[in-house]
């Protein structure tokens, strides 16, 4: 048994309602021995050798932040790109400042182009959005460089724009591109199914081991940078189990990695539902120190929110288009039933109110057939919903892991162009969930939103749109709920609340070290609280210089 280390702090926000505040926490072998004050810790300190570490005297400790839903592999593909974004993106190795006009966009892209040493290297940039950056097409890109391949990847990932050098770089038959209805060679746009043609050429570049490895290192930094000590990978594997497990085990299971990862396998797959159950159960015994599979399984209801493919109940979308199902409703029900009867915690990706309706209709049937308590059926994302659905979530015992950032980035755009003000302003209906007492976590679904828990909490508490309008102030939640949603309630989503999520005797010694107390900070400044770093299993990990 090792020596006890006592960390003292200006304040410790334990997130344990029975003792919400403390000033000292004793840690041994990676776990918390006791939280309280130097005075209350005395019986332990008298009994065992210890040292007092006062480095956090001016800091506020919180339980290590938890993002219960993000995708490291997607992040590894994105982070090596040059970011030019309309919103500020704080990244571990750089800050992408807001670029909100066409002129600034072009100037920034030109600046990046000039800065690149190898004249033939592909310039891949992400973050372009027409609403802010105007028309950026082949001609504009050719003007920046006639020789360097330049590919502009649109914010929502559903379109790329290429200059002539990039179209040549793709090594595709131009005649084949010309006849494609979703490729416009004149403007250099590859969208929807045309994007798949471009992606075919980009994949060897995006997934090249060196680039992917570098990307994963950036993801590791980004997760630490956000103050996380635990994350949930909520759809494992992305493509290939063998390959991904190997990479994860080699990059995450390292002494310098200050977080652990709970993996939730995909439930759908080839074959009958009993095969799916067998496959998911097969993961459960796989474990390293930092990587583990719990009792969860991930299912999908409707399509992506950024892609406007969520299934909406009437009156639907303003332009009359329809969303899509990721899984056929009958298939979803059959899978959910198989996993329900196996005693699994089912996480269902639901983005539109009809996607949610389907998930709730299925849960209702399952509860009728074979009632379960503490089943933790989790609604993931929770984009559009109705107040009545929120009440059914409560009645059926479901819980919610919400991507509240949708509201900030898409609230206004969807209000004006997609579903109108009433439903757009009420996306992420968290205030109603809070008043109903539904356990709720916040997640980033990184790379859909920045992997910054304080930023997610900031959106939930303020509901500010990108231009600063408050959208549905009635749905704002209290700071207490928001902070629970990135700590203890997020732990609950992952089935890990006995181990992490609050600071109390027996739990893992995971802390996020803040330079200011969220409860003493103006709500609108919550996202700007500087993070000193984290303590992971008792060991301090400062963020260091950026």
């Amino acid at each position: 048994m090792s020596e006890i280390t006592v960390y003292t702090a200006r304040k410790i926000r334990t997130m344990n309602p029975s003792m919400p505040e403390a000033t000292a926490v004793a840690v041994r072998d990676g776990r918390i021995v006791e939280a309280g004050s130097l005075e209350t810790l005395k019986p332990w300190l008298d009994a065992y050798p210890h040292k007092v570490d006062t480095r956090f005297e001016k800091h506020v400790l919180m339980p290590g932040f938890i993002d219960p839903h993000l995708h490291p592999s997607l992040g590894a593909i994105l982070l090596p790109c040059h970011f030019i974004t309309a919103m500020t993106w704080h990244l571990p190795d750089r800050v992408s400042p807001p670029v909100t006009s066409h002129e600034d966009y072009v100037a920034r892209l030109r600046e990046i182009e000039t800065s690149m040493a190898d004249p033939d290297e592909l310039l891949l940039t992400w973050g372009y959005h027409k609403i802010w950056h105007g028309i950026v097409d082949r001609t504009v890109l050719n003007d920046i460089s006639a020789t360097r391949p330049i590919i502009v990847w649109q914010r929502s990932f559903h379109e790329v724009i290429a200059n002539d050098a990039a179209i040549d770089w793709m090594k595709l038959d131009r005649a084949e591109l010309e006849r494609h209805p979703q490729i416009d060679l004149a403007s250099g746009r590859f969208f929807e199914t045309g994007l798949a043609v471009a992606t075919k050429s980009m994949n060897p570049y995006l997934f090249a081991p060196e680039r992917f490895g570098k990307g994963l290192e950036l993801v590791k930094k980004a997760i630490h940078f956000g103050g996380h000590t635990t994350i949930g990978e909520l759809a494992y594997p992305l493509i290939n189990d063998e390959l991904e497990w190997d990479i994860l085990a080699n990059t995450i299971e390292q002494d310098d990695v200050p977080f652990r990862m709970r993996l939730v396998p995909r439930g759908a797959g080839p074959g009958e539902t009993d095969k799916a159950v067998e496959r998911v159960n097969g993961f459960q015994s796989r474990k390293t120190h930092r990587l583990s599979f719990g009792n969860g399984v991930k299912l999908f209801s409707d399509g992506g929110f950024f892609a406007e493919l969520m299934q909406m109940q009437p009156p639907g979308f303003i332009d009359g288009h329809h969303g899509e199902w990721m899984t056929a409703p009958e298939r979803l029900e059959a899978l959910a039933r198989a996993f329900w009867n196996e005693g699994k915690q089912i996480h269902v990706h639901c983005t539109g109110d009809m996607g949610l309706e389907l998930a709730l209709a299925i849960l209702e049937k399952l509860q009728f057939e074979r009632p379960r308590f503490n089943h933790r059926f989790t609604i993931e994302h929770f984009g559009a919903s109705t107040p009545e659905q929120a009440r059914r979530i409560k009645d059926l015992g479901a819980i919610v892991s919400a991507n509240v950032y949708y509201l900030h980035e898409l609230g206004e755009a969807y209000w004006r162009q997609s579903i109108g003000y009433e439903r757009a302003s009420q996306m992420a209906r968290l205030g109603t969930l809070e008043s109903l007492g539904v356990t709720t976590a916040l997640h980033s679904d990184f790379t859909m939103a920045p992997a910054l828990p304080l930023n997610s909490a900031w959106v939930a508490v303020n509901r500010l749109s990108e231009s600063g309008t408050v959208l549905a102030p009635e749905e704002r939640i209290s700071l207490d709920s928001a902070m629970r949603a990135i700590t203890i309630d997020a732990a609950y989503m992952l089935g890990m609340e006995d181990e992490i999520g609050s600071i109390r005797a027996g739990k893992m010694a995971d802390f996020t070290v803040l330079e200011a107390d969220p409860w003493e900070t103006a709500p609108e400044d919550l996202k700007d609280i500087p993070i000193w770093g984290t303590v992971f299993e008792g060991e301090p990990f400062p963020l260091g210089e950026r």
């Binding site: 595709l172 038959d173 084949e176 591109l177 006849r179 494609h180 209805p181 979703q182 490729i183 929807e192 199914t193 045309g194 798949a196 043609v197 992606t199 075919k200 493509i239 080839p270 074959g271 009958e272 095969k275 299934q311 329809h322 899509e324 199902w325 990721m326 899984t327 056929a328 409703p329 009958e330 298939r331 009809m354 309706e357 389907l358």
Partner: protein, 307 residues
């Protein structure tokens, strides 16, 4: 030339797998690749299997059957690069795929083109499904997208139900051919189109689709594509497919015509192809004679002895 893809769509349980099984058992007259979503469901007769390698099954008749693992484009590329690329692909769309979207995706993938959209509709349940709050729109969009609707399980419904279902299907999509598919069997030439250049024998009398007629026409002269386009767009619904080669009078180029329902397209063809069109229609023989005359009139120089 691009490899044609017939897209087989339809909601869960509509009978797509049964149609695929029936097709593979029918010994197709061309080298087929069948791309399926889930291998487990396709039950290939063991006597037909030549070899099996992971997600690919090779049949003794030269066809292959593969599952679309993660990505359609990857699966198509693999087919195109194989030592013996298929002459035709039957692609099973996932039950929840928007057929127009997947048709755009597959039909414009480099090296491939869309032949037709065939939608399987279950006579017993399709109308109920189309009224469902979750999937009604999807089921309707699959029907609306179809060139050919294969009506399955019509043997399981009361007499008259198949007719009323057919009328209802036509109310959603007046252009599509609705054809009965007992035990998943759809006439090969209808499902995949006739083989151009090699006139297929007329339907055997004992086949379930003996109501289909085949007409062959060999143009003696270059064809006026404007006249032909007008003719094709005015074809009655009883004409299901037209396919074959002709010389374009304006350009002098050998041209491939492919028509399914009201949709047709021209594409460049190798010079060596032999002129000749095959038409598949239902209805009386005398109509075929009328079509024949109409095609003759599309030639830029009408042979003098027939004037």
């Amino acid at each position: 030339m691009r490899i044609p893809i017939t897209l087989l769509t339809g909601y869960l349980g509509a009978g797509k797998t049964t149609i695929i099984n029936a097709l593979l058992a029918q010994n197709p007259d061309r080298r087929m690749a069948v791309l399926v979503n889930d291998f487990g469901a396709v039950n290939i007769d063991a006597s037909l299997i030549a070899s099996r390698d992971g997600d690919t099954v090779r049949l003794t008749n030269g066809c292959v059957c593969c599952s679309i693992e993660d990505d359609l484009g990857t699966a198509l590329d693999a087919l195109a690069k194989s030592p013996h690329p298929p002459e035709h692909v039957l692609l099973e769309a996932s039950g929840v795929a928007d057929p127009q979207r997947i048709a755009r995706h597959a039909g414009h993938w480099p090296g491939f083109e869309l032949d037709a959209i065939v939608t399987a509709a279950d006579c017993e349940t399709v109308r109920e499904r189309a009224a469902d709050k979750f999937v009604g729109h999807l089921v309707e969009s699959q029907i609306r997208a179809a060139d050919i609707i294969a009506l399955t399980k019509s043997d399981l419904v009361a007499p008259g139900d198949a007719e009323s279902t057919t009328r209802w299907l036509h109310s959603l999509n007046d252009d599509a051919l609705v054809t009965d598919a007992p035990h998943g069997r759809v006439e090969l030439a209808l499902l995949l189109g006739p083989r151009p250049g090699r006139p297929s024998p007329p339907a055997m009398p004992d086949q379930p689709h003996d109501a289909f007629r085949t007409m062959h026409w060999v143009p003696q002269h270059p064809v006026d594509t404007e006249k032909l386009s007008r003719l094709l767009s005015e074809m009655p619904r009883a004409v299901h497919r037209v396919k074959g080669f002709f010389v374009d009078a304006r350009t002098g180029q050998m041209t491939l015509l492919q028509q399914v329902g009201r949709r047709f397209r021209f594409s460049a063809a190798p010079k060596t192809a032999a002129p000749g069109l095959v038409l598949i229609a239902s209805g009386p023989d005398m109509d075929l004679a009328r079509y024949h005359l109409a095609f003759e009139s599309c030639q830029s120089t009408v042979p003098s002895e027939r004037v």
